[in-house]
């Protein structure tokens, strides 16, 4: 029986610097009353509600500092929310911590392997913490070492491992107790393309065994390729949620044309809006070298001649065009006015 994940109206304000991997958020300064020094308040989550269905691969997509790691932290008993609730299956994360920890496996953003142990011992002791018997944990450790191509290094201390090997071992460790819900925080950050594909295969396989997977990423291809459903988050709340196809379809038009003009003329935006297939036009801030506009449209390249003609006729002097096809990047840009990579 697969297990789902739910959060309701999660808020988290860090009053000191947030833990590594959950750093970010936007810094606001609230002067403490009568205090000597203004206290730094960092809101990381701002009313985040999510429902992840049992047995799905769910992605949290957002830029650095959006609140992804903090959300994972709250769901995995590592970050206490300022308010709101979180459940793994039927269990309240903050009421039934030990029960919840049985159900989850966590792959952190930064490897946190036990440096005093060898690769194999890390897996064996991890399973022992979860009360798994000696025979079973030995068998499972061998199986996972094989699967993650670590058998040859099994008896070595992990201190000298490469980043990719540590990441693989972290995932193997999280799978040792066969958790119902697997959390992966930026699992492919810093991995070479080959290892990334191995990782994706392993995640899909784990999901096919009836497990729920929640991963965070700021990589749109990964979210698109791997996740059945996604939530796009920014500034600690969900700005869009759905399947990758639904989300992409929700962008007006789908295509995004970023235009730059030498100078802006008064009726330029209105005239762009009146072109066939254009769904939405947004003015960008003027800069020293001219003005810009984002055009969301049903078509891409075929609009360019019309735009060029229009610009020439109105004296706006088209200087640069960038066309992108329907993508999650465009969706994010549409909602926030910023790129995911910013």
């Amino acid at each position: 029986m697969a297990v789902g994940v739910r959060t309701q109206d999660l808020r988290k304000v860090y009053s000191s610097s947030p833990p590594l991997g959950a750093a970010g958020g936007f810094v606001a300064r609230a002067d403490a009353k009568g205090g000597k020094q203004p206290k730094t308040q960092i809101p990381a989550l701002d009313g985040l509600s999510l429902e992840i269905l049992p047995g799905e691969i769910f992605g949290l997509l957002g830029p650095n500092g959006a609140g992804k790691s903090t959300t994972v932290g709250v769901l995995t008993t590592r970050v206490r929310p300022t308010s709101g609730q979180a459940w793994i299956g039927e269990h309240d994360v903050w009421e039934e911590q030990a029960r919840v920890k049985h159900l989850i496996g966590v792959v952190p953003q930064r490897p946190n392997l036990d440096f005093s142990l060898t690769a194999r011992e890390i897996l064996i002791f991890h399973a022992a913490y979860f009360g798994i018997g000696s025979k079973l944990r030995n068998d499972r450790a061998d199986e996972l070492l094989e699967k993650f191509k670590l058998t040859e290094r099994a008896t070595q201390m992990v201190r000298g491992f490469s980043g990719g090997m540590m990441q693989r071992l972290s995932i193997a460790r999280a799978m040792m107790h066969d958790p119902q819900v697997l959390f992966l925080d930026e699992p492919s950050a810093g991995l070479d393309p080959q290892t990334r594909i191995l990782l994706w295969e392993i995640i899909r396989e784990y999901h096919q065994a009836g497990r729920t997977v929640l991963l965070t990423t700021h990589n749109m291809e990964e979210a698109d390729a791997l996740c059945q459903r996604l939530a796009i988050i920014d500034h600690g709340h969900v700005i869009a949620q759905g399947t990758p196809v639904q989300l992409k379809a929700s962008i007006p038009g789908g295509f995004l044309l970023r235009l730059r003009f030498g100078n802006r003329t008064a009726d330029l935006l209105q005239r762009l809006q009146s072109l066939a297939g254009v769904r939405e036009v947004r003015a960008l801030d003027d800069t020293a070298d001219g003005a810009g506009a984002d055009v969301y449209a049903d078509r891409g390249g075929s609009l360019i001649p019309e735009i060029a003609t229009l610009a020439a006729n109105s004296g706006a002097d088209l200087s640069d065009v960038h066309i992108s096809e329907p993508s999650l990047e465009n969706l994010f840009l549409h909602h926030t006015g910023r790129s995911l990579r910013d």
Binding site: N112, F125, Y129
Partner: protein
């Protein structure tokens, strides 16, 4: 309470301690044994110190070894694991209440402190002999004091390990451990401070005083020492205080 998890974590610490045994032995025993050799053999042998000093010195050396071992065994891994390697997260995610992870650390530290305390006796005896006049007059009291001192060292390690930044480790040894050892009545009995009446009162806030005096009272009662009751009450007080502070600090580090 999940005992399987608890014992698995103890097994992990025992495994790591075994692996680092030689390093642990050197860092625990080298300094006290050098001290025993210089003060117990060289100074006494050359006549600068009376022969009785050998016996007076031994309980203090046991106390130092235990305190140093317990603090080191608990505090150093915690400082590194919380702030740098994040290794402890694996155990924080084990299906057990977070406070029990801290208690496991304390138990592991206590065991190491007891082993250190009991090992230093024969080692020091080998260096000092002949002329050491120690005997365990009240085995039960001795055992209770050993356990209380071990608890104090491990709880102290927990409180320090969860309160100190990595860059302040040197400061911890310079400003906390070293004065504690020198004002801990380790190399002299508390009564020797009677010519410094203010200092004699002030050092009573140092828990190591009770550890040294307690061991002196049970191993070499022929020398002046604090009353056993005062020692037991004070050690118990410091154990509870440091455990409460340590647990609170641990939980605030474990959950952000």
């Amino acid at each position: 309470m999940n005992w399987k998890t608890f014992f698995a974590m103890l097994a992990r610490d025992a495994h790591v301690a075994r692996r680092n045994a030689i390093q642990l032995l050197l860092q625990t025993f080298l300094q006290p044994l050098l001290f025993v050799f210089i003060f117990g053999r060289v100074m006494v042998g050359s006549g600068y110190m009376p022969a009785a000093y050998k016996s007076l010195l031994l309980p203090g050396i046991i106390a130092i070894s235990m305190i140093f071992t317990g603090i080191w065994a608990v505090a150093m891994p915690l400082i590194a694991e919380f702030q740098w390697t994040r290794e402890i997260e694996d155990r924080l995610l084990a299906p057990i209440d977070v406070a029990w992870i801290a208690i496991e650390k304390v138990i592991a530290g206590m065991l190491q402190a007891v082993v250190a305390g009991l090992m230093v006796i024969p080692l020091a005896w080998l260096v000092l002999r002949p002329g050491v006049d120690i005997s365990i007059h009240a085995p039960l009291t001795f055992a209770v004091i050993i356990v209380l001192v071990a608890t104090f060292s491990a709880c102290g390690g927990l409180a320090l390990g969860c309160s100190i930044n990595q860059q302040h480790i040197g400061l911890m040894f310079g400003m906390v451990i070293t004065p504690m050892i020198f004002f801990g009545c380790t190399y002299y009995p508390w009564s020797a401070l009677k010519t410094f009446p203010i200092l004699q009162k002030v050092v009573l806030i140092n828990p190591l005083v009770y550890a040294s005096e307690g061991l002196r009272a049970t191993l070499v009662p022929q020398f002046p020492h604090l009353s056993i009751t005062a020692v037991l009450v004070a050690l118990l007080f410091f154990d509870v205080l440091l455990l409460v502070v340590g647990l609170r600090q641990f939980e605030s580090k474990a959950v952000s």
